[in-house]
């Protein structure tokens, strides 16, 4: 049971998790709540951070950890002292992080028990013990019950933070015992500024990445700009000829769209070769979002696919508001369905057929 450890998301640069409160942007409300509680020494004993992927939940959790454990600059964290450095490295003895084990899609009760054991030890350095459960929506029901006990009767001075993109799978008792903090999507300007400052991107790349980040810094950072541009071009071409495409062409395109998420071997996953979840279907979604924007706002509404403005406004005119909205909904629903174990190939083929019919 190696649950103590932060499983580093392989493709996320390490410095993302080394940030202090000051360098987290775009989550003013969430940060204000936490910093106020911190300043008045009235932190809740359990928090639930809810928000989309890549907007700063884990970064904030780690920043809060540093603020609590740092010995040089209490309440802020210095980022340099041995305590802060060991938080970043995941080796601070008073911290514990739980996430699904490599290759698994749930957090087991054994991992929660191990967490319980770690939290039963006296804090060595900071006087406070801090645990983070990442992807808390993947906790099995049994694991949630075990965690509930930990939330209700923490041993000693412990702080628990649950991070999730979707609180719906968490049990009511667990939810009711955590203070909820919401994280919102980031404005693309915020993402762009951060990419320029902290991730050494040039202005053009930063701008392009931010436009396609869909409000998630994590996604912007993990996108490979060249590969992304290439894929985007391909999607645009295919969508352009969609109304006149034959079924075999549709089928091939569908195959390509879902190929992104094929299951990789365990070795590849462990070696961090797993592709970021930059879902190719989201390129399709992005296209239809732009079409809808074009219908409503005219050509000025097109921000992401400007080189195709002509095609797009043509399509916009043909569809009208209702048509564009209907198509967008189709794409969105399919993405949702894929998240719930739909047959990938079939679902996407069906989507393309419906889109082509309009």
């Amino acid at each position: 049971m190696s649950s103590r450890i932060l499983r580093p998301t392989p493709h996320v640069p390490r410095n993302m998790y080394a940030m202090l409160f000051d360098s987290i942007h775009g989550q003013d409300q969430a940060l204000a709540t936490l910093r106020q509680a911190l300043a008045s020494n009235r932190l809740a004993h359990a928090y639930l951070f809810i928000g989309p992927t890549g907007v700063g939940k884990k970064t904030t959790a780690l920043a809060l950890m540093r603020a609590l454990l740092c010995r040089e600059r209490p309440q802020e964290g210095c980022g340099i002292c041995s305590a802060c450095a060991s938080v970043t490295a995941g080796t601070h003895p008073d911290m514990a992080m739980v996430a699904p084990e490599v290759g698994k899609r749930s957090i087991s009760i054994d991992q929660v028990r191990e967490l319980q054991r770690i939290l039963s030890l006296r804090p060595v350095l900071g006087g406070k013990k801090i645990a983070v459960v990442d992807d808390a929506h993947l906790l099995t029901p049994q694991a949630q019950s075990a965690l509930l006990k930990l939330v209700e009767e923490p041993s000693g001075d412990a702080l628990l933070m649950l991070l999730t993109v979707n609180a719906a799978t968490l049990s009511r008792p667990l939810l009711s015992r955590c203070q909820q903090v919401r994280f919102s999507l980031l404005a693309s300007e915020v993402v762009e500024a951060q990419l320029l400052r902290d991730y050494d991107k040039d202005a053009a790349t930063a701008h392009a990445l931010a436009l396609h980040s869909r409000g998630s810094l994590g996604r912007a950072v993990t996108l490979d700009p060249e590969l992304f541009t290439e894929e985007r071009k391909y999607v645009e071409e295919e969508l352009h000829k969609l109304p006149s495409a034959s079924f075999s062409e549709l089928s091939r395109f569908a195959e390509w769209l879902v190929a992104d998420r094929v299951k990789k071997s365990k070795a590849q996953v462990e070696a961090g070769e797993e592709r970021p979840t930059g879902n190719r279907l989201e390129l399709v979604l992005s296209w239809y979002e732009e079409v809808l924007r074009c219908v409503v706002l005219g050509r000025e509404g097109i921000v992401r696919h400007q080189e195709n403005a002509a095609v797009m406004s043509q399509r916009a005119a043909a569809l009208g508001v209702e048509g564009a909205l209907r198509q967008l909904t189709l794409v969105y629903d399919t993405i949702q369905a894929l998240g719930r174990n739909a047959n990938r190939q079939l679902a996407v083929e069906d989507l393309l057929l419906q889109l082509a019919r309009e």
């Binding site: 049971m1 103590r4 054991r117 006296r122 041993s155």
Partner: protein, 377 residues
């Protein structure tokens, strides 16, 4: 860092730290051993963030500094090397070179600054003054041996999962462990002067298992046990083992100890132990009940498992009380008798069939074992 060390010495030291190195960790640095060369000595360190070990190793240090490297791999390499002097040297950023005769290995090293603190610094809190006691390793090992087995393996009762340590007004050191069904208490002379300064501490099972290993083949060496705020540090010769204490309070166990010590039966340890062992064959994991029937100077020990069969053993005992029939978990009996020395005369104090029994060796009243009875039909 550069140092020269004899193969046998390095192998011995590496062997000692192996037990602590985390095997399944997804934090790679914890599978490494920290090698620090300073002035005259080289120290090897390993930790899994709960227990840590630091081992001094005789070596000639040419350049001080530190490196880390995979503990298991280094051990395996050193083991296979011829018995000659070998050189450990940091070679460039992130590498460590091991050479001996014509063999040369280059292994990956982490930045030693990233290595977690092995012996955590003494708590900043001024109230957490360190206290320590020196006693022979043999005695400490015995105390651990005679209490650890009775601690609870149940993860949900953390405060019972370790061994409770306290200083007695008499200057003795006391260790207590319990799993809720039985309780073991041992006291040994330790000459503790500042009894009031001693904090109550629960030592973790994992750390005690390592400590027991360390003290296993001990003759007469002195060991030093210190408590600093949140950690206990055990020093023996060139080895230093630290473990994090368990949070929480140990239950008030005094009320469990039977006050009345009037009626008891006495019997030789071996005779009773082998009888119960034989009887346990006819029990199952779920029902380990053993019935003790005491009549005059005879004790009949029996088991009865409907699906398996039944067994009886008769023992001659010294009975200093009335007749009584009582049931106990047989495994709890054999476990305690196993850790007691051979040739002892055992006294089992019993009040009635529903009160806990107290087991002591006549020769050693400083060890007590309290065991809850079972209802056996």
């Amino acid at each position: 860092m550069e140092c020269a060390v004899e193969k046998e010495e390095l192998l011995r030291c590496l062997y000692l730290v192996q037990g602590v190195v985390e095997k399944r960790s997804s934090l790679p640095i914890l599978s490494h051993v920290l090698i620090e060369g300073r002035e005259e000595t080289v120290s090897l360190g390993a930790t899994d963030l709960e227990i840590g070990i630091r081992q001094q190793c005789k070596a000639v240090v040419k350049k001080s500094g530190a490196v880390t490297t995979d503990a298991r791999k280094l051990y395996e390499i050193v083991r296979e090397l011829p018995p000659e002097r070998l050189i450990l040297r940091s070679s460039g950023e992130g590498w460590v070179e091991v050479s001996s005769g014509r063999s040369r290995f280059r292994m990956a090293s982490f930045d030693p600054k990233e290595f977690p603190a092995i012996t955590p610094t003494v708590g900043t809190d001024d109230k957490k003054v360190a206290v320590s006691v020196a006693l022979p390793g043999k005695i400490l090992g015995e105390m651990i041996e005679k209490t650890l087995f009775a601690s609870s393996p149940d993860e949900s009762r953390q405060n019972l999962s370790g061994v409770y340590l306290e200083a007695q007004p008499t200057g003795k050191l006391r260790m207590v462990s319990s799993d809720g069904h039985r309780l073991a208490i041992i006291e040994r002379e330790a000459g503790i002067a500042e009894v009031d300064a001693w904090p109550h501490a629960i030592l973790p099972r994992k750390g005690l298992i390592e400590a027991r290993k360390l003290l296993e083949k001990d003759e007469d060496s002195e060991t030093d046990l210190a408590l600093h705020g949140a950690t206990a540090v055990l020093k023996k010769g060139t080895t230093e083992l630290s473990m994090r204490l368990i949070e929480g309070d140990f239950p008030d166990y005094h009320q469990v100890i039977p006050k009345e010590k009037k009626n008891f039966v006495s019997f030789p340890r071996e005779e009773f132990l082998s009888a119960v062992r034989r009887l346990l064959v006819l029990t199952t994991e779920r029902a380990r009940g053993v019935k003790l029937q005491i009549e005059k100077q005879k004790m009949t020990v029996s088991v009865n498992t409907p699906d398996l069969g039944e067994g009886t053993e008769e023992l001659e005992v010294e009975n200093n009380g009335g007749d009584l029939t009582i049931g106990f978990n047989g495994r709890y009996l054999t476990e305690v008798l196993n850790v007691l020395d051979e040739g002892l005369k055992i006294n089992l104090f019993l009040k009635d069939e529903v009160s806990p029994g107290l087991l002591q060796a006549e020769e050693d009243p400083d060890f007590s074992y309290i065991i809850m009875p079972m209802r056996i039909f």
